[in-house]
């Protein structure tokens, strides 16, 4: 492993071919001596979970504001899981999963949001 690398990683070649437009999909591999990132990720996820729990148990905000805040905490926690544990930016060549995830985020938010919105119209019936 100690000999100098004679070949440039394929990943970088792919990026240079694509130019700057797909720069955000450039793969990135994390390398650590000790799993600090995982430990901080775990502590972070516990803090976010208990923050949401305590806010609900203590009723610190009016219902709709409280729901918005705990959903924001959940989104933060999802981002933390993706970034810390799921190696989001790792790939051989460009990290296409970033595009997939962006698309599905749009679809999922649309699906849930639009369902809730459309059903408010017949709230008197159902």
């Amino acid at each position: 492993m100690s000999q100098p690398l004679e070949f440039r990683p394929e990943a970088e070649d792919a990026v240079s071919d694509e130019g700057e437009a797909l720069r955000f999909m450039r793969p990135h591999f994390g390398e650590e001596k000790f799993p600090w990132i995982q430990i901080w990720g775990y502590i972070g996820s516990l803090v976010l979970t208990f923050a949401a729990l305590i806010m609900v148990v203590d009723h610190v905000l009016p219902p709709l504001a409280l729901l918005s805040v705990i959903l924001a905490l959940a989104v933060g926690q999802a981002a933390l899981q993706l970034g810390v544990f799921m190696h989001l930016r790792e790939s051989r060549g460009l990290a296409w999963q970033i595009i997939f995830l962006g698309m599905v985020l749009l679809m999922a938010v649309g699906m849930v949001g639009m369902s809730i919105w459309i059903m408010t119209f017949k709230s008197g019936v159902s």
């Binding site: 492993m1 000999q3 690398l5 004679e6 070949f7 990683p9 394929e10 990943a11 591999f29 650590e32 799993p35 995982q38 430990i39 990720g41 775990y42 996820s45 516990l46 979970t49 949401a52 729990l53 609900v56 148990v57 009723h59 219902p63 409280l66 729901l67 705990i70 959903l71 905490l73 959940a74 926690q77 999802a78 899981q81 993706l82 810390v84 544990f85 799921m86 190696h87 790792e90 790939s91 051989r92 296409w96 999963q97 997939f100 995830l101 698309m103 599905v104 679809m107 999922a108 699906m111 849930v112 369902s115 809730i116 059903m119 159902s126």
Partner: protein
């Protein structure tokens, strides 16, 4: 045909699971599967969101849920997400013993989660809150149950991987399988966080 794993790792400067071109593309494929799974859960969350106040003669969310068992389940799943993260870290360090230790721990934590969830469901059903009682309960059981089925499948998958790693060691194929399993497991953790927030905590906001 790719080069042997060791050569590929040096030339490509990527971890073992990305070292084989064909195995590596399966990781991208697995991300696509997860994306479709997001849509399954999105549709189940939609139906739950729409039905959560349609309680008919049955109990409402705030009457039914107790946060104690749910916090236990959340802690078990969050910890298992951490241990599978450590398993992948050990895999990258080519430490097979540590990898298997963390994988077994993940498996046990997952089993603990499913046990707690089944116990929860049995408690609800014995109190008369079955899934045909109200639209709210139908939405609840189908959403939380689909997640629980995913976790159960994940446990079986992890058990098979444990045998494969024990017999074949850390090859381009087994590391790729372990990596995709870790993606699956973290994904289930994310889904659970939204169930915890939107179903259980939201149920307690009155």
């Amino acid at each position: 045909m790719s080069l042997p794993v060791e050569d590929e790792k040096i030339i490509q400067h990527v971890p073992a699971e990305f070292s084989d071109e064909k195995e590596s593309i399966k990781i991208t494929g697995f991300w696509m599967f997860l994306v479709t799974d997001v849509l399954i859960f999105a549709s189940l969350f939609s139906s739950y969101a729409v039905f959560k106040n349609q309680v008919a003669q049955g109990p409402s969310a705030s009457q039914l849920f107790t946060l104690g068992p749910v916090i236990l389940e959340t802690l078990l799943l969050l910890t298992s997400s951490f241990t599978i993260g450590l398993a992948i870290y050990a895999m990258r360090k080519e430490n097979k013993r540590a990898l298997m230790f963390w994988l077994i721990l993940t498996l046990l934590l997952g089993a603990g989660f499913v046990t707690a969830e089944v116990h929860d469901f049995v408690t609800f059903v014995s109190a008369g809150a079955t899934w045909h009682k109200s639209a709210f309960l139908s939405g609840f059981y189908i959403l939380v149950g689909t997640h629980g089925a995913h976790v159960t499948f994940g446990i079986i998958w992890a058990a098979t991987l444990l045998f494969q790693v024990a017999r074949r060691g850390l090859t381009a194929v087994t590391t790729r399988k372990l990596f995709t399993f870790s993606l699956y497991w973290h994904f289930l953790d994310i889904v659970w966080i939204f169930i915890f927030t939107f179903v259980y905590l939201n149920g307690k906001i009155v």
